[in-house]
Structure formats: C-alpha cells, structure tokens
C-alpha cells in the first residue's frame, strides 16, 4: 500500500505546528492522524508520507534503486520517512549503516559509479559536512573529470535548515553551499507535491541530486492532486512554480519559507495593501531565473525569502542575476533579501524563533519596501 492518506483535519496552523515540532515526530503524526481515505473530498498527504511514497514507488520500479543511511531500516527512519521500506524490500535494498557519513556516502558514491542508483540519507544535512568531500569532489565532479565516462546517478537527501530546539549544529541551511557546485542539481521542496515529485525526479535523474527537505515540514499535510498521486508523477527539476499570482510585488522563496510567504501574501491582500505574487523556487540549481524575471517585469518589485544565512546566500544569487538581466530596468525599488539572522542558531526558543523569518517579518518588510522607490530618500 503506497500512501497513507489523511483527512483534512489540522492543516498548516502555526500554533499547532509549533506545539508539535518540539515533540517526537511519531507523536506529531499520531496526533494528526485520522486515517481515512476519501476520494470525494480532496486527498491529503503529509510531506513525510509523500517522501515515503516516492521512495517506495521508485524502489518498486527499478531494483537498482536502494536506500542507505543511519537508522533507515529497522528504526524505520530517524524521522520515519523510510517507514515500512525494510519490510517491503529487505536488507539488500534498505541498508542500516554504522555511524560514518564519509563511509556510507563514499560507499554510495562508489556503488553509483558501478551502476546502482543509491539514495543516500543523511540524518540531517548538518552531518553531511563529514561527507562533503565525497559529495562535491567525487559525486559532483567525476562525470566531468572522467571525460563523461563515469556517471553518478545518486540522490542525497535529508532534512535541512531550521528544526526546533536543536541548536546551531543541527539547524544550518546548506542551499547556498550545494547550490554553488557545478555538477550537482539541488532541489528544495516545500509541500507534499513538491516532495514527492522532486524526490522521484531526483532518483530518476542520471546526475547527482541533493534533496534538501525540512524536518518541520515532515508532519504537515497538503492536498494532493489526482496527478500527484500517480506512480509516474515527477516535478521537473529546474522549474519554479507560481503558487499565487499577484501584480504588485514578487516574493521568491524556497522550502518552509514558501508557507510563510503565502501567509504574508494573504494577510497583505486582506489588509488591502498589495497583491503579492509568490514563487516557490522548488529548485536551487538549476535556478529558474526566467520565471523570476518574467514576474519582476510584471510587478516591478522583488523580495526573496530564505531560512539560510544572508551572506553569499540564495537571495544574494537572485539579486545578482536579476541585476545582470533585463529585469533590472523594470525594478521600482532595490531587491530586498529576507534571510535567517547572521548568527549560529540559538537554542533558547524565543531567540530561535527570532533567528528565522516568518509571516510577520515578511509582511513588515514588504510594507516597508512598498514605500520605497529607487532614488527617493
């Protein structure tokens, strides 16, 4: 049975999410779980289950695909993303590893060179730093450096960025780091459709792909279209999605920030301040700058939102590329970047909340930037 479906009970309410995020992911799931399949109403699925479906479907379709990582098998996954897979596919396809990121990542890379299609799970992307040489120097560069003779059809995945109450070494966002590496493709899903479609696309892609999930999104439910439930549903890597159309300002975000951006857009429209267009990047590399350019030509204003650090970040790259493009002449105000605070993530909950942008911050910044015009003081 591929998908576990949830009736639309509690969806994306910040307070409930906040309350659940500190607790055990299993508890979160069970609290939200009302296991009923209803084909008449919209079908809902959590991001976690969407990822689980993607893994199961791809492993079913191609026996070269296999999953490896810490706790992925017997424990059903540190965040239960790989639940049930060991039972379905056995220990040759779902491998529990010793604690050695450089070891199992290197092993996965080598097996990809030799023709298998590994999905290498990092418990969080923070731990992947111990294996970053294998990801960058080997997986990303080998196709090029071998003259096209050696391929590396590997998928790296795991939770990235903000979590809750786990302090700096578990909360860093790596979108900018991996996004800068030629040879890698990097995707950052927001909702369940993104998660399923992008993970499936990543596994099918013959290039090494980095999938940056988000732990806080795992338990969140989203409606799934008929198409998204199909076994062949993929989301094209390198294409952004316009989640909400608007005319006054463009908000570009990825991952969890997309949710906040949409809430901010709703709020601003209700208050009669502006109609914002919200773009969900979906892919960090290749970056779909064309969609952003087209939007900026329409709205004349741009705001980027990300959880990562400001310096050399995703927003910085968008600013640079917009400035280099024809969209520059269409800007009525400088592009504004909304990012995580330039500090290692604090542990204290009140400080941690202040360290990442949310609906409130986005709305305030947009209200402020709408007052501005280039050249005016």
């Amino acid at each position: 049975m591929s998908s576990v479906l949830r009736k639309a009970a509690v969806v994306s309410i910040p307070s409930v999410r906040q309350a659940l995020t500190r607790s055990n992911p299993i508890l979160a799931t069970s609290l939200l779980a009302k296991r009923s399949y209803n084909s008449k109403n919209g079908v809902e699925m959590t991001v976690r289950d969407a990822l689980n479906s993607a893994l199961e479907e791809e492993m079913q379709a191609d026996d070269k695909v296999y999953l490896m990582g810490e706790e992925v098998g017997q424990y059903n996954g540190a965040y239960k993303v790989s639940k049930g897979l060991l039972d379905k596919f056995g220990p040759k396809r779902v491998i529990d590893t010793p604690i050695t990121e450089s070891g199992f990542c290197g092993l996965a890379v080598g097996s990809a060179f030799a023709g298998l299609k590994p999905v290498c799970e990092f418990m969080t992307w923070n731990f992947a730093m111990q294996a970053i040489d294998q990801i960058v120097n080997s997986a990303a560069k080998t196709h090029y450096m071998s003259g096209g003779n050696v391929t590396c059809p590997i998928t790296f995945r795991g939770p990235n960025g903000a979590a809750s109450g786990v302090a700096a070494q578990h909360s860093q966002c790596f979108a900018a780091w991996y996004g800068s590496v030629p040879g890698l493709k990097v995707v950052s899903p927001w909702n369940s459709e993104d998660a399923k479609g992008l993970l499936k696309a990543a596994i099918r892609d013959p290039n090494p792909v980095v999938v940056l999930e988000n732990e806080l999104m795992y338990g969140v439910s989203f409606p799934m279209s008929e198409a998204a439930l199909s076994k062949d549903f993929v989301v094209e890597i390198g294409k952004a999605k316009i989640e909400k159309e608007g005319s006054d300002i463009t908000i570009v975000a990825h991952s969890r920030s997309v949710g906040f951006a949409l809430e901010a857009a709703q709020l601003l429209e209700k208050e009669g301040i502006c109609k914002a267009e919200v773009i969900n990047l979906r892919s960090i590399r290749p970056l779909d700058i064309d969609t952003i350019i087209k939007s900026v030509k329409k709205t004349n204003r741009l705001v980027t939102v990300e959880g990562g650090w400001p310096q050399y970040g995703v927003g910085s790259e968008i600013c640079a590329q917009i400035m280099e493009s024809e969209a520059f002449d269409h800007l009525d105000a400088p592009v504004v970047r909304i990012t995580g605070a330039d500090i290692p993530t604090p542990y204290a909950q009140n400080l941690e909340t202040l360290a990442f942008p949310d609906t409130d911050v986005i709305s305030r910044v947009i209200k402020r930037t709408l007052q501005q015009k280039i050249g005016a003081k």
Binding site: P98, G106, G110, L116, Q134, M145, G147
Partner: protein, 443 residues
Amino acid sequence: MFSRISARAVARAVPSQSIKAIPALATSAKSFSTSALAKDSSKKKERVKVHFPGALDSHFSQVLEIREKMEPIDTFRIMDTDGKVLDPSLEPQVTEEFATKIYKDMLTLNVMDLILYEAQRQGRISFYMTNAGEEAYIGSAAALELEDEIFGQYREAGTLLYRGFTLDQFMNQCYSNDMDLGKGRQMPVHYGSKAHHFQTISSPLATQLPQAAGAAYAIKRSGRKNCVMCYFGEGAASEGDFHAALNIAATTSCPVIYFCRNNGFAISTPANEQYKGDGIASRGVGYGMHTIRVDGNDVWAVYKATQEARKIAVEQHKPVLIEAMTYRVGHHSTSDDSSAYRSKKEVEDWKRYDNPMVRMRKWLESKGWWDEAKENAHKSTQRTAVLKSFAAAEKRKKPAVSEMFNDVYDKLTPNLLEQKKELEEMIRKYPEHYDTSNYIKEK
C-alpha cells in the same frame, strides 16, 4: 580508589606489568598471563564469557591487562633479494609467457616513467609521478580478472599497463590532447578507462576507499564473481575515509581488496611519523577483516597474496586488507625533491640491496627465461615505442573548446547553454584575442 581501565588502554608512562605478547588472531584466542598473582586463579577457574552486546568473544579476567601492542604481523615473502625462492613449496607454478609479461611490463613502466619525468622537467607536460621502486605491485594486477574494478590512488599505472592500456593512451592523457579519454580535464597520471575497468583517478586521498566498498557492493548485488581492488598508500591510511571504509566494508560484507602500498614516505613524512602502531596491517584485524602483510618488492609474494585475497573476497564476499611493504625510490612527484629529506645514499642503498626489478629478473634468469640480450632488446624497443608515442601525443591538438561545457551534467543546463553561446560569440567577434588554432575544430 582506582579507576576501571578498559582493556584497550595503551600503556603510557606506566610500564605494563602483566603483559605477554598476545598472538593476533582473527578468531578468539586464550590469553596467557605470566603474572605470579594471577597464576593460581587462571589455572583452576573456568573462564567466564562476557555477554555485553559489544564484547563479541571476550572473557572476564582478574588480570589488569594494559596492552601496548599485539605481536607484529610477519611479512610474507617467496623470493630473497637475489630472486631465489626460499621455500621450494612456494615455487610459482606459472608459464614463461605469464612470468615474462609481468617483468616486461615492469621494464616498460620504468622506461615510460623516465621519459615522462624528463618531459615534465622540460616543461612539456605539467606534472608526473613515477613508480620507481614499487614496480612489483604489477604482480597484484596479474592475480586479478579484467572485470575486477580497480580504484587506484595515483601510483598504480602499472596495473593499467598490465591490462593493455596503450602507450598512446598514457601519453594522450598526460598531454591532455583530443584523444585523451578524460577530455583534458585532469592533471597528468589521473588515468581512467572504462574498458580496462580502471576507475578514473581522483586527487583527494583515500576517498576511493569507501567508494571501492560501494562498487564491491554493486558487484555483490549483481551476482558477478568479481571483486574490487583498491590501492592506496600508508599516508592515505591516516585519512578518516580509510577507517570509515574498512569498517563499512566489513559490516556491509563487500568483496573488496584493500591494497596498501607502504612505501615508507608520504611526500616527506616518514612512516614512523605517520603512525605509531604496527603499520597498516594491524588495523585490518581491528576492523574484523582478513589481513595479509607481504614483501611488496617480491612479485611472487604480491601475486600469491592477491590470489588468496581474491578468493576470500569473491567466494565469501568479505573484504581483505593487504599491506605491501616497499620503498619509494623516486620523488613523490615532479613537485618534490626528496634529497631535501633523505640522503641520496639511502636511496642508492635500497636500489642496490632490495630491488623488485632485479629480484624478478634474477628469478627469470634462473628459469632460463630471460637474459642480458632480451633485457637490452626490450628496453630498447620500449624506449623507441615510448618516444614515438610521446612525439605523436605532443603534436596532437587539444580537445574542442566547446567540450569545456559538456559533462557537467548529462545534458547542458540553461545557464551552461547561455555561457557556451556567449563564448562562441566572443571567439567569433574577437578572433585575434582568442587563438583557437591549438584546439581541434568544433564539430
């Protein structure tokens, strides 16, 4: 009040008291204590097994054992330094063709190294690394099947040569010309060949070790009766990846042979500064792995060790560690001058007293399969062949400029297409600033 000290504690200033050297065995061994205190108790009481999940085969003991080392692992050799087989039962049962091929390839490798080293010195290629002093590793290649994947470090070109990589192919890579299989994207000696099952060399040290385990895992999954051969130096064995790899190869049961060329130096760092234990072999047992130490200058010992290791890997799907003791006669690379950290005399002594080429040659001569005339003839033919390849490779043009954008991904992404177009436009518009005469024409 004394603190509980684990049996793995290494003796520091305190001299170990109740320690007798314990034979290092892969399976459980009874420990013998010579301490007078423990004599009575150990004689009469039965040994009680430890049941902790992590203790495997240990037994409880009232002897506080502070072990500094295990018995050093012996180094297996078949021939002495004069090429004489020491134990007649180990006389290699091989054909003349098989044996002379190995030696001929050692000679060819030597000749090629000399010429390419000089080429770098003359500024004709940018970089080179020789195999001087370690040629006997070719014996390990002789024990493999062609479909056994090789993951090398950088000083194993002889294995590629043994498998049939041509002189032209070596030169083309070093010259980064249009015939280079790597399309001119790597430094010299970073060879790679799918046809020869030789994984493209990667510069960061030891990263190939966990990858080799992975490739071995893929072979195991496929059902093929092959293994992976992974070479590295004793310096690279200090890297984290070495430890991660051996542990995961053992726990995941991968058919991989880890072959350590312990040549005594990591650029200028001597082996006795690289590690404090009994070489690299002592670590294998620690990771639960079959381990062999051989005389790396003895072709037949290296050959036999690899044969046995391959059997274990292929039939039992278990990894094996081979440590081949040898001596790096040449400099680390063309960027190194080893006279800065060792005497020329030391190098000359090694060349004179324990030379893998000489040992093999003398063995061949004792069988009547080689002589002075053959030696000179082969050296001369190979020298001519190398120079011919060399000259041809030097004349060839570089790969087409547009190749620069290929293979970053399987297909060019939008930004790469854009950059490619931009460059083409620049070259077209300002040909006087972009001299492309040295590159082959675009298709």
